[in-house]
């Protein structure tokens, strides 16, 4: 039950979806399963929420290190959940969009979640700059190529890059830095991305086959052995 049933479910669902592509009467099966997948994913979100509650309540009750911040997490979680599930201050009532701007959910989304999310990501600009300053050294040919390509792309997306080569005649327009950046993105970058994508495609196909046939069982955890 612990091992054979999950292996059978994986095999059955995986095989059915592959066969459905080649069988017109059941070709919409993929779409139906994608809805099934979405519904189960919602329960996974609930599981995540339940786990979050459990972890932080345990942390608070045992007065673990930085337990006071767990209260912040729980307050944020409960208020956002209450605002969203009950559509608090949502003028359109139950039929209105949950993300309506005037609703409490929309307000928290716009004033808390969006600023936090975009600032967290923008922090990476500083860390990338600092890491690249330390790591980028034109030590050999390969490192120099990487450095030059990155520099042209960065320069090509600034007004300074446009200004630097604006004097060039139209017969040399490919040498203008913005155009050079576009060319790098559309030609050598595309070639490299494509070589990687083909490798990824082969990897995913072989891994999918291993999973469907039950060769790969790591997702079952310890009982998969």
């Amino acid at each position: 039950m612990k091992r054979q049933v999950p292996l059978f479910i994986t095999f059955f669902v995986g095989t059915l979806l592959i066969v459905s592509v080649f069988s017109p009467p059941i070709e919409t099966l993929g779409e139906d399963f994608s809805v099934f997948f979405d519904i189960i994913a919602v329960f996974a979100f609930f599981l995540g929420g339940g786990n979050l509650l459990r972890v932080h309540l345990t942390k608070i009750s045992r007065r673990k290190h930085d337990w006071a911040y767990s209260i912040v997490t729980l307050v944020g979680f409960v208020v956002m959940l209450w605002a969203g599930l009950f559509k608090v201050w949502n003028e359109g009532g139950i039929a209105a969009s949950v993300t309506a701007e005037e609703s409490l959910f929309g307000m928290i989304f716009n004033s808390v979640l969006i600023p936090l999310q975009s600032t967290m990501y923008s922090l990476l600009a500083f860390f990338i700059a600092s890491a690249s300053y330390r790591a980028f050294r034109a030590k050999n040919r390969e490192a120099t190529i990487l450095l030059v390509a990155a520099f042209i792309i960065l320069l090509g997306r600034t007004a300074f890059g446009t200004m630097l080569t604006a004097w060039m005649p139209s017969s040399l327009s490919a040498m203008e830095i913005p155009n050079l950046a576009i060319w790098i993105m559309n030609s050598p970058n595309l070639a490299g991305q494509r070589a990687i994508l083909i490798g990824i495609g082969l990897g995913v196909v072989s891994m999918s086959l291993r999973i469907i046939l039950g060769v790969e069982r790591t997702y079952l955890g310890d009982d998969g052995k």
Partner: protein, 267 residues
């Protein structure tokens, strides 16, 4: 709590209140000026709290980080509930319940009870003794992903990518004479277009040769592999530059918010 921490915290609270009052006054034409003032101030202080991490890890950053975790977990739960369960599941299971939620009804299909059962089984993960049952829905998710990706990736990442690599190596070819007489480095010129196609074709081949480890990389094969490395280096460099620019544009967005929407120092 140290005395210096209390002083800093008090200063931040006072600054918050001052900003709230001033922003509220600046939105005096709105329906809820002080609510808008509070929201703008909260967004600005949370932005600054995250930026404070650039100095070092501190209580303000930890506060913002923990708030982010709680709010985003609830956000995805709420979105999943309204957009998937209410819109896609309930109308397929019960027309009465769909009417109560004021959502358009769909054809009733009891097949959709299956994902509900599997979803409930997934919640068994929270139980120590019955946690193993959660592997069944996990197996369904893994099986679905494997089945869909097998065909999807075969098409999009393998067959389509190979097909797109076989591009004409002679573009608008009208003979050697015409080629040299009209030679230019214009971005839409014949030479640059041909060069692009050559780079794509040769680049993909050499990139694939680099990833082929069943033969030793020596001689002509080794040279092709070396070209493959160069192409990959350009790709990594371009991806790096692109990522940095994306992050910088986010940073510019946050700074614009702080200096224009909050402090009103720029127009």
């Amino acid at each position: 709590m140290k005395r210096s921490s209390i002083v800093i915290l008090s200063a931040v609270v006072v600054l918050f209140l001052v900003s709230w009052i001033l922003k509220g006054a600046s939105f005096s034409g709105d329906d809820n000026p002080y609510l808008r003032g509070f929201l703008t101030t909260a967004a600005a202080f949370l932005t600054l709290a995250v930026f404070s991490f650039l100095y070092q890890d501190n209580p303000f950053y930890k506060f913002a980080e923990h708030l982010f975790v709680g709010v985003s977990a609830a956000y995805w739960m709420v979105l999943g509930f309204w957009q998937t369960l209410v819109r896609n599941l309930i109308p397929r299971l019960s027309s009465d319940l769909a009417a109560w939620f004021e959502t358009p009804s769909k054809d009733i299909s009891l097949w959709y009870i299956i994902p509900v059962i599997f979803g409930l089984l997934l919640l068994m993960r929270l139980s120590k003794s019955a946690g193993w049952i959660s592997r069944w829905p996990l197996a369904l998710i893994i099986g679905y992903t494997a089945g869909i990706n097998f065909v999807g990736y075969m098409r999009s990442d393998f067959v389509n990518q190979i097909a797109a690599t076989f591009v004409p190596l002679l573009v608008n070819w009208q003979g050697t004479g015409a080629f040299f007489s009209d030679f230019s480095l214009a971005i839409d010129g014949q030479f640059v277009m041909m060069l692009s196609n050559w780079v794509i074709f040769v680049g993909v081949m050499c990139g694939l040769i680099y990833f082929f480890f069943s033969k030793e990389h020596t001689g002509l094969f080794g040279s092709a592999s070396r070209v493959g490395i160069w192409i990959l280096m350009i790709t990594f460099g371009a991806s790096f530059g692109y990522t940095v620019m994306g992050r910088i544009s986010l940073l510019v967005g946050r700074l614009t918010f702080l200096f224009r929407d909050w402090l009103e120092l720029i127009g």
